[in-house]
Structures are given as C-alpha cells and as structure tokens.
C-alpha cells in the first residue's frame, strides 16, 4: 500500500508525465465561451457531447507529437569544486534525435543554496545538439550530491508539456571563497599595500642567507661579500631574509559565537577565508602549517605540512566546516595543538573577542601556552556594536542598549589591553580585512624575528 502510494505520488505529482499548458487551457476556455454563447439560442446534449469530444481529441493530437525520453539525450557539465560567492556556469547539453523542434525549460536538482534562475523557453532544433547554461551562485559551503534533472518539453504548438526526469549524478564541493588568497598569490606586496607593511629584510644579518647581489649605494657595508667581490672584480653584497621552516598553527573556532551573521556570510565563513589566506602566505614562505578546527570537540585536524600542495589538503579538510550551537572548548583545542605541535610555533586563533571578555578562565590556558608558543587571537570587529554605540537614545530601551554597548566596548578594550600585557595580542579587524590583518601580522612577526 505504501509502495503504491509512493508510486502514485511520484508519477502523478513529481516524476514523468504530460501536463496541459496554459495555452491549452486558454483555447479550451475560448471553446467553452463559444459553446456557452451558442447554447443560449440552442442546446442539445448530442451536439454538446460531440463538440466536446471533438475539441478534446483535437487538442490531444499535440500530445502524441511529444518526444520520448530516449529521443532526447541530456548531459550535465558542472565544476567539481566551486568557490562560495563565486558565480559559476552549469551547462546542460541536449541532443535532439527527432525531426521536430521542441521548446524546453528545465529545473535542475541543485541544492537550494545555489541561487539561480533556470532558463525557460529554450529551443532545441531537430537533430541538433544544444547547450543551455545557467548561472549559479553558491551560498553555503559543503559537499553536495546533484542527481535529478527535470525538463519539460513542448512542441511548436505547445498545447501539452512532457515532463521527463534524467538521473545525472554529480558531486559538487563548495569550498571557501579564495579570492583573497588569489590576490595574495598574484602579488603579495600589492595585497598588503594598505597595511603599510613591506615584506622586507629589516635587521641586518638576521635570518637566513638568501643570495649574493651587486652592491648598490645605501647597502650596509658590513654585509659586503669580499670574497665574491674579489673574484668578480665588482662589489657584491649578501642578502638575508627571514628564516624559513617555522611552524604556524591555525586554530579555527566553530562554536556558537562564530555563527553571528555579517553583511556577507557569518563570522566562521570569513575566518575560514582568512585562515586559508594565512596558510597560503605561510606555505609560500616555506613554513609549516597545521590547522585545528574545534567547537565543543575537535572537528578537523590537519597535521603540519610544507609546500603549496599542503594547501589543498587543508582546503579539503576544512571546506565543509559548520557552526555548532555549542560553546567552544578552548582548553581542549590548545591541548590538542600542543600535543601535535612540539616545536615552537605561531598559534593563530580565529575566534570572537567577546567570549574572552566575559570569562577570565581562558587566560590561564593562554598564559601556559605563551611559555612555548607565540600566540595571537584574531577576531572580527562587531559592526552592530559600533552601530549601537552611535544609536540615538530615543527611548529607555534604546538608551539602555546604547549604554550596554558602550560598557561592553570599554570592557573589551580593557580585556584586550590586559591580555596584551600578558603577551597575548588580540586583534580585531573588520570582516573584509580579516585576511589582510592576519597575513600582515604574520609577516610582521617574521620580519621582527619573533618566531
């Protein structure tokens, strides 16, 4: 019985089938009107019956001209991996094996978060292949299975539409938006331009030897490479750059507070993008990067690795992270980080400053970790808080909200100062500048040779 019901449900309402179009209904309405007008003068059951049957049969003829499923070949082209908030094209290839031209409209079984407008009224000419594309705009990261493609075909007359479903399996991964990373890779210097930090060699003689080059006026005479100068009969100087092979540990908080909505995506979204950019910068610099994502429990771990290939490992591990409705367990995350990272490393925690303001408990763990590692916390500036601070105190509630926001802001500042005193810097950046801030802080740290 249940099986019959599901079959009934599928055939009648969802799967394949023939549907009368609005055009047919319009025609039939006109016919009804004509019959109605005629019947005011003359009415006969025989005439009514024959005329109705004739009309319906005439209309039904078109339904027999519709193609079969085998006559239309369909294939889908979709990228395996697409970035969130990056528009992508999906192409559906139609091959029409019949001698008739059909009009098609389609709905693809893509997830709801892929915002799109499906094409309608596309022609597929007789015996030809046509590619119909539509643009998708993925909103939510994750791994998706795409299966069914629904199409509706009609003939030139267009009285009936035939719905056919095809099962075309595709797996799509929506990864974090990498536009920041790409910008960094294209030109690191330009990317950090607004931060005012240069990737430069600050302290003379500090760091690893990089290369020998011709001496130019202004170079430190202490760094002249005399042996090479003698050999080449030209003044040569040594160049140094910050050391490679340091480790960076990225901690990603996926707890409750990271689910807060921003103008575009939520805090976690932005943190992941920033983390990947930071990982790219570190990996390109020859450093080792490990990533730990956590909320109440450890959600994902990428052990440290080298080279830009490691970026893909990181991406594949963290692309589907989601916000949990739980408080984060920082102690656990830090313990785990210490257990996998024995060497001194720079620990970057992407989290929310608020949590630390209201609880002193975390400071204890952080102080412990400070002894061995270099710790920095990165948060996203709360625009809503700023807006509330500046709000007009028009009624009691508004004034109260305003004063509470101001109190929170002052508190936050104090706590950040206190942590900084303990050598635990907390940085806050606007959502769109989080990635830049993290990278520039990293480079600054390297330049100053702190790591």
């Amino acid at each position: 019985m249940k099986r019959f019901k599901s079959l009934w449900d599928r055939l009648l309402f969802r799967d394949k089938g023939i549907i009368p179009t609005y055009k047919l209904i319009t025609y039939y309405a006109l016919f009804t009107l004509a019959m109605f007008v005629l019947s005011i003068w003359q009415f006969s059951w025989l005439f009514l019956g024959i005329a109705t049957l004739l009309m319906i049969s005439l209309l039904i003829i078109d339904a027999f001209l519709l193609p079969k499923k085998e006559d239309i070949e369909v294939a889908r082209t979709i990228a395996d991996e697409m970035e969130r908030y990056a528009k992508q094209m999906v192409t559906i290839h139609f091959h029409n094996r019949t001698n008739d031209t059909y009009t098609v409209r389609l709905i693809d079984g893509i997830p709801e978060s892929f915002q799109t407008i499906f094409p309608t009224n596309q022609l597929i000419p007789s015996g030809k292949s046509v590619a119909i594309s539509y643009e998708i705009f993925p909103q939510i990261r994750g791994k998706y299975q795409i299966d069914t493609l629904y199409i509706r075909l009609k003939t030139k007359m267009g009285l009936w539409e035939k719905q056919i479903t095809y099962h075309l399996s595709d797996e799509v991964k929506v990864i974090p938006n990498l536009s920041e990373t790409k910008k960094y890779l294209a030109s690191a210097q330009k990317y950090l331009l607004h931060e005012g930090i240069k990737i430069r060699k600050v302290r003379s003689g500090v760091g690893e030897f990089s290369k020998v080059r011709s001496y130019v006026v202004g170079d430190d005479p202490r760094k002249i490479n005399w042996r090479q100068s003698a050999k080449l009969q030209e003044m040569m100087t040594n160049e140094y750059e910050p050391e490679h092979g340091k480790s960076v540990t990225i901690l990603l908080d996926c707890g409750r507070m990271m689910g807060v909505e921003l103008e575009e995506g939520n805090r976690l979204e932005k943190s992941i993008e920033a983390a990947i950019t930071l990982a790219t910068a570190a990996l390109q610099n020859g450093d080792q990067v490990s990533v730990i994502a956590f909320s109440k429990e450890i959600k994902a771990v990428v052990p440290s690795g080298k080279g830009l290939e490691h970026l893909d490992t990181i991406l594949q591990t963290i692309y589907a992270l989601e916000v949990d409705a739980q408080e984060s367990n920082y102690a656990l995350a830090i313990q785990h980080a210490q257990s996998i990272q024995r060497k001194r490393s720079m620990i970057v925690l992407f989290s929310d400053v608020q949590t630390f303001v209201n609880e002193d408990y975390q400071l204890f763990y952080m102080k412990k970790i400070r002894k061995k590692h270099l710790f920095v916390m990165l948060g996203i500036e709360d625009r809503l808080l700023q807006a509330q601070i500046k709000m007009k105190p028009e009624d009691t509630i508004a004034a109260m909200e305003k004063s509470m926001a101001q109190k929170q802001y002052i508190n936050q500042k104090q706590v950040m100062r206190k942590w900084e005193k303990h050598g635990l810097p907390m940085l806050e950046a606007p959502a769109e500048r989080l990635a830049v801030t993290s990278v520039s802080h990293y480079i600054e740290t390297l330049n100053r040779g702190l790591l």
């Binding site: 549907i19 009804t32 109605f36 808080l385 007009k392 009691t396 101001q406």
Partner: protein, 370 residues
C-alpha cells in the same frame, strides 16, 4: 517515427468517426416513455384509452398547461405528483368549483385535494380483489395498500372488503372523482379482468363534454422530469465545460516541476542578542543611574582619545577643556551640562525623564567629540 505518429492521428480520427456514427445509429432504438403518457404506446401508456375515446366521437384533447376556467369539462389526472405548490392545487380546486369534473387516478392520493387515505388490511394474497360497483361484482387488480377515507358527503363509487377504491366528491358546482388504481387505465391492463367496465362505469365519459388528459404535472414539474432537462441549456454547458476546465487546471497546477526542498531551519543569529537581553533586563530594573554611568565612562574614554584629557579630571574640568573646540555646543551650555553631571553623580539617582534627557545630552557631546 513520424509515420508512426501519423497513423496514430488517423487512428484517433477514425475512432471519432465511429463515435459519431454510433450516436446517430443508436438513436433508432425504442424511445423511453415515462409512464401514463397519452402518446405512449408502451404497456404503461394511456394511448389505448385515448384512441378509443377519440374514435368513438368523444372530444378528447391533451393539455400540458394548467386548466383554463371553462365549464363542464372532464379532466383526467393520472398519477400526478403531490403538488408542492399550494397555488397549483388551489387552481385545480377553483377549476372544479366552476363546474368541471376532475378524475384523479393515483395509488396514494393522500394530501392531494384534502384527500385522506388509510392503510387497508387486505387479507387475501391474490393480485385481484372483488370490488362492488352498485351491487355489481367486478374483479379488478389491486396494487394499492391504502383505501380512501370517505366523508359523509362523499359518494362511494367502488369498494371492496377493505374499503373504498373510488369515490366522488362534490366541490362547488363540479365534482372530483378519485380512483386508487391508475394501472387500470394503462394499455396493458385496460382490457384485463373487469377493468374496462370499471373504468367506463367510474369515469363519466358519456355524460361529460370535452375530455382533457392533463399532463401538466407529468411533464412540467415534479420528479418525472429528467435531470438532464431541468435547467437551461447554457447551465449544462457551463457545468460540463467547467468540470473539464477544472480537470485541466488542476492537472496543470498539480504536477510538480523540480525537486522538493525541505524547509530550511532558521539559523540567523545576530551578535547583539545578549546586549538586547541585558538592556531589557536593566530597563525593567530601572537601573538608570548605572546606565548613565556607563555612558559617561564611554564619553570619558572618547574625550581622552580625542583630546588627551586624563581620567582623573572631574567633569567641569573636562568639559571646560573641550570648550571652544566644538561647533554645535556653546561654552555656556557645556558648563551647564558639566554642572548637571556633577549634580547627578553626587545624587546617585535619577528618574526616567532625567535619564532620557541626559542620555540625549551626553550623546550630543559624544557626536561632537567623535
């Protein structure tokens, strides 16, 4: 491929032709008649009686309208339905009062023309009964389980052991003759048993003038009218086409195009939820002074950031420090505000109106400073 389709179309056209032909050919089959119609040659019709009377020089007609007020006519009503309309009945009664005769043949005329019937206990199981017509024994068919309840003035024409089968009642100048067995008049039964003599004895065909078979109630009203002719033609057109249109529209709307998406859970969270909760709680607790203190702390911090005025200065000094650096607030006003703040800080309490007005003033300075 296409040839196959064309053959399909021809198949349909042929099928249609078949329907049309069959409709026309089957229209020669015997017509169905409702019972007790004058033209009906079927066993239930009255054609035999009608033709007999016509051929024997009677002035017989059939009418499908209410009677006009003539005199000395004989009107035969065979199995009319009970009139739902009192006016129709009154019309008939007036007609009788004018001096006409109505013959009413109906199995149970209870309720018609103020007639009453009572259930009869017919002991015999035979189809026929022996009726008595002025001493004459007639063997007649009995279908009716009731007998007429005769008044004292009524003239009982025919009766059997169970009661009256036919009576005559004088109304005004005319009379009403009631007969319980309309089947005696039918083509099938009129010559059987003693029906012929019963009918011709009971109904005064010879004495009366024109005989009218009344079919008003058989055709125009009542349950005998076919459901297919009850309403005007256009209503049927609208009904039939409406049903078909409804099917088309439901069909068009009912088919799902695309996948079913489960309803997305609401997950949008905002960062000020905690703040709002605290604010409402504080407002309920009327903690205006604490709130104002927070605002002053913030203002202090903002002024320190902007002008470097240290925390330990009091408000008079602080606001004097920024005097002349702001455009919108005059030095006098600043001085006044500073004094007010000092007063409130000393008093450590304020009401709602003061709270709101001071919040506005502090915000004004904050805006200026920032």
């Amino acid at each position: 491929m296409f040839g196959k389709k064309r053959s399909w179309i021809f198949g349909i056209l042929f099928f249609l032709l078949l329907i049309v032909v069959s409709v026309f050919s089957t229209s020669n089959t015997p017509e169905e008649y409702p019972p007790y119609l004058v033209e009906s040659p079927s066993p239930t019709g009255l054609k035999a009686l009608y033709t007999y009377l016509e051929q024997n020089g009677h002035d017989v007609t059939q009418e499908e309208a209410l009677p006009t007020m003539t005199k000395e006519t004989l009107r035969v009503l065979v199995n009319p339905p009970v009139f739902t309309d009192q006016q129709t009945e009154n019309h008939y009664l007036d007609y009788v009062r004018q001096g006409n005769t109505i013959v009413l043949a109906k199995e149970n005329p209870d309720g018609l023309f103020n007639l009453k019937t009572e259930y009869a206990l017919t002991g015999s199981e035979s189809e026929t009964t022996e009726a008595d017509y002025q001493g004459e024994k007639l063997e007649v068919l009995q279908n009716s389980f009731v007998r007429l309840a005769a008044n004292e003035d009524d003239n009982v024409l025919l009766e059997d052991d169970a009661g009256a089968l036919a009576i005559e009642r004088h109304i005004g100048e005319g009379s009403l003759i009631v007969l319980l067995e309309p089947t005696w008049l039918t083509n099938d039964q009129i010559t059987k048993h003693d029906h012929t003599s019963a009918v011709f004895n009971l109904i005064p065909f010879k004495e009366s003038g024109p005989v009218i078979f009344d079919e008003y109630s058989l055709t125009k009203t009542g349950g005998l009218v076919s459901h297919f002719e009850l309403y005007p033609g256009w209503a049927y057109v609208l009904l039939i086409q409406g049903i078909i249109m409804a099917i088309f529209i439901l069909w068009n709307q009912g088919k799902r195009f695309g996948p079913i998406y489960p309803v997305r859970e609401e997950t949008v969270r905002l960062s000020n939820e905690r703040l709002r909760a605290i604010a409402i709680w504080q407002a309920k607790g009327k903690n205006y002074y604490a709130s104002l203190e927070y605002q002053l702390d913030y203002l202090k911090e903002v002024i320190r950031e902007r002008y470097g005025i240290p925390y330990q200065q009091n408000w008079t000094e602080r606001l004097a420090g920024i005097a002349g650096k702001t455009d919108a607030i005059s030095t006098k006003e600043l001085d006044y505000i500073a004094q007010g703040i000092e007063t409130i800080l000393a008093r450590k309490s304020l009401n709602k109106q003061e709270y709101l007005s001071w919040s506005a003033k502090i915000d004004k300075i904050r805006e200026e400073v920032e």
